[in-house]
């Protein structure tokens, strides 16, 4: 589905209420930034869909465009220097890029919420967490101060902050990193959105706390049947919670797969290289496999496949033709649901 989005039919006119398709659909999204050194092409034709109750993990390194895509969806891109020359972002069948600011604002927070990596800088240091949580209800639902506070305590209980009643008046700096991230999750959940975008939600946390927060997020998602886009660079975190994975490189999706499939049989040399370059916890390895070279400069993305200068399988065709996201099949041609690889040599990569 996502694999052939370019050739997919234009969606039929849609009504707001009982929309049947995916919750969110990103189509051929492009984002550029005008910088001192030229135009940086951060996102170059991204397609993905997220359904209700589904978790999509977007995996990529810095500069892969994974966060910029999320910002474009949220409508919090800085424009300028950023601009969206091309693409559509359908939320329940409506293109958000064609909406007025007012319409988008109504969706943001209420329908789509975001969790950031750094909870401390995302919370206002001079307001108590109870006030900040309650604000969501006062502004969006017009609750009274007292009711809003009660709802805030309820939410803090919901994300399992101990002694919520006593701590509701505390300020962000009085909480530990893990607790602050829980507060961020509570804020995102406050209005029971349909979709949550979590941008590196556990990167700043310690491993023992990471597990707690990830579990909480997964549990709440199931309970509310929300869509979840999990943006991360950590192959380990993804393995635990995602249903499907989209791997990004230089602003494009290079591979999509259901989570188990990706780790077992990667179909793109970049994914393969990433998996091989992580040391194992359960055995002492020899020298690590390292992907040679560096991520590309976004103002001068290599022609053809962006990964070609670093790829061990690169041939002439890789330097001239941009590979589309080919549907990946078994050796005998049997379809592998949800799998795609933007590599001219995906067959050689997956089937050896």
């Amino acid at each position: 589905m996502t694999t052939t989005a370019k050739t997919a039919d234009v969606p039929a006119p849609r009504q707001d209420g009982d929309f049947e398709g995916p919750l969110l659909e990103v189509r051929d999204l492009h984002v550029e930034f005008v910088t001192r050194d030229g135009v940086a092409k951060a996102v170059n034709g991204v397609n993905y869909t997220v359904g209700a109750g589904e978790t999509l993990a977007v995996l990529g390194e810095s500069g892969s465009g994974k966060s910029v895509t999320a910002q474009a969806i949220m409508g919090i891109l800085d424009m300028p220097p950023g601009r969206i020359p091309k693409g559509e972002i359908f939320f329940r069948g409506q293109d958000m890029l064609k909406m007025s600011n007012e319409e988008r604002r109504r969706i943001r927070g209420r329908k789509i919420a975001m969790i950031f990596q750094d909870a401390l800088s995302s919370l206002n240091p001079v307001l108590s967490v109870g006030y900040q949580l309650g604000e969501m209800f006062r502004v969006h639902q017009g609750l009274s101060k007292k009711d809003a506070r009660a709802r805030a305590i309820e939410l803090m209980d919901r994300v399992r902050i101990p002694a919520a009643k006593e701590r509701v008046g505390d300020y962000p700096h009085q909480f530990s990193g893990g607790m602050r991230q829980r507060i961020m999750i509570a804020m995102a959940l406050a209005l029971e959105p349909d979709l949550i975008i979590a941008d590196e939600p556990t990167t700043a946390l310690d491993v023992t706390v990471q597990a707690q927060v990830m579990d909480l997020l997964a549990e709440l998602q199931r309970e509310y049947n929300m869509g979840l886009i999990l943006i991360t660079h950590d192959l380990g975190v993804v393995a635990d919670v995602a249903d499907k994975i989209a791997v990004m490189y230089a602003g494009r999706i290079v591979e999509t797969a259901p989570v188990h499939e990706l780790y077992k049989r990667p179909a793109h040399p970049y994914t393969q290289g990433l998996l091989d370059s992580i040391p194992r916890l359960d055995q002492k390895g020899q020298e690590l496999y390292a992907i040679k070279g560096l991520p590309p400069n976004l103002t001068r993305i290599p022609s053809g496949c962006a990964f070609n200068p670093r790829c061990p399988k690169a041939q002439d065709v890789c330097r001239t033709d941009v590979p589309q996201l080919y549907p990946v099949t078994e050796r005998d041609g049997a379809e592998l649901a949800g799998r795609g690889s933007a590599c001219h040599f995906w067959k050689e990569t997956i089937h050896g």
Binding site: E61, S62, P162, S176, G177, G178, M179, D206, V207, T208, V209, Q210, A211, Q212, M214, D215, H233, D234, L235, G236, V237, V238, A239, D240, V259, H260, Y263, K264, G273, L274, L275, S277, I278, P279, R280, L281, D282, K284, G285, E287, L288, Y289, A290, I291, K292, L294, P295
Partner: protein
């Protein structure tokens, strides 16, 4: 900061911890010159080159503006001891706030220890200053975590690496320095022609290579690495780790590798120490720690590591700890981990467990017999799928 023990002596538990390490053959230098000479003597492979004994660092908490009085202390490092052997990599793991970065600063003499000693080739370096300290600095260097802040943005790469020779002019004669800098760039895998570029013209991984070149410039014996790859992208981490391993063989370096990523630490380390709230809770070879952990904290830490392999993952037991790390300003009595430990009993609140081979494992030859600071140490494999 509710209850503060006024009589709290900095090295309260320090003495109890001595049993776990071998005796130090101290070198008493009679003069500064003699001290400097002693440091140039080579150490055999497998012999201890750095010996840390009961190291303590307390940061005082003060109140009042004009008349400051101490109202307590953050016990960042509270009596740790370990040896670093020539040519090995000792990994130190722990979560944020466990004191591992403070250990790095103490070993580098960037912070003065509150108590305890650091013996480098048998000489206590915590009391050194002036010329003798500068001589030690030549042999113990550091690689920093953040490649974006560890390089002066106003200096060229050549000046950043070359500065080491200006500070220690005896290492390279003036005319030779540019060539040496270019050699170093080549050694760490950077184009020597980049010598006149500025740090912001490089990517994170390249910057970290520059940081490593600076650490290598004085040809040190020990390099303290404080989270050297945690700020880098996954695909670049492996490059830098491989480079560090290559350099270790090439220049016969000993590493203290401080990190929170347990997989990377296992990959690079010969021995591993686990820290919790200013204490070393378990130390041993990588096999002993990862395949036969006996301290509950180590077990919890290892079980929480996300593994990029959903199938291996499913067979593994996960221990999810409740709550957060307590404040190092007011750590729990007895065993510091007891507030989050599922095995805790009354004894844990009263008696500080020593870092030693547990009594019940003393007679076995198996890898279980390694130092672990737990009253109820027992083996539990949390890394391998059942």
């Amino acid at each position: 900061m509710a209850e503060l023990d006024k009589k709290d002596e900095p090295a309260r538990n320090a003495v109890d911890e001595t049993p776990n390490v071998t005796a130090v053959n101290t070198v008493e230098a009679r003069s500064e010159a003699e001290a400097v000479v002693a440091l140039d003597a080579p150490v055999d492979r497998g012999e201890p080159i750095l010996q840390v004994r009961n190291l303590v660092k307390h940061f005082p908490l003060t109140q009042g503006i004009l008349f400051k009085r101490q109202v307590g202390a953050v016990k960042a490092v509270d009596g740790i001891s370990f040896d670093l052997y020539q040519g090995e990599t000792l990994g130190i793991v722990g979560e944020s706030g466990c004191g591992k970065s403070t250990v790095a600063k103490l070993l580098m003499m960037l912070e003065r220890a509150t108590a305890g000693e650091v013996f480098y080739k048998g000489q206590d370096i915590t009391k050194l200053s002036g010329r003798a300290l500068k001589a030690v600095r030549r042999n113990i260097q550091m690689v920093f975590q953040d490649p974006y802040t560890s390089l002066n943005p106003r200096m060229t790469v050549g000046d950043i690496i070359g500065e080491t020779f200006e500070i220690h002019p005896e290492v390279a004669p003036k005319g030779d320095r540019r060539r040496k800098v270019q050699e170093l760039l080549d050694v760490v895998g950077l184009n020597p022609e980049y010598i006149n570029r500025y740090p912001h013209q490089f990517s994170g991984g390249q910057r970290q290579r520059i940081g490593i070149a600076r650490g290598l410039a004085l040809n040190p014996e020990i390099i303290i690495c404080d989270e050297p790859v945690s700020a880098l992208d996954v695909s670049v981490q492996a490059q830098v780790i491989n480079l560090m391993e290559k350099l270790q063989d090439e220049f016969d370096l000993s590493y203290v590798f401080i990190a929170h990523d347990l997989s990377i630490v296992r990959h690079i380390s010969d021995r591993v120490g686990v820290m919790y709230l200013g204490k070393m809770v378990e130390i041993g070879s990588d096999e002993e720690i990862y395949d036969h952990p006996t301290h509950p904290y180590t077990q919890a830490l290892l079980s929480a590591v996300p593994v990029p392999d959903p199938e291996a993952r499913e067979g593994r037991e996960r221990i999810i700890l409740s709550g957060d790390v307590p404040s190092p300003a007011n750590p729990p009595s007895g065993c510091r981990f007891r507030t989050r430990c599922w095995k805790a009993q009354d004894k844990c609140a009263t008696e500080v467990p020593l870092l030693a081979v547990p009594e019940r494992f003393k007679d076995t030859d198996s890898p279980v017999a390694h130092e672990s600071a737990c009253h109820f140490a027992e083996e539990k494999d949390v890394v391998h799928a059942a």
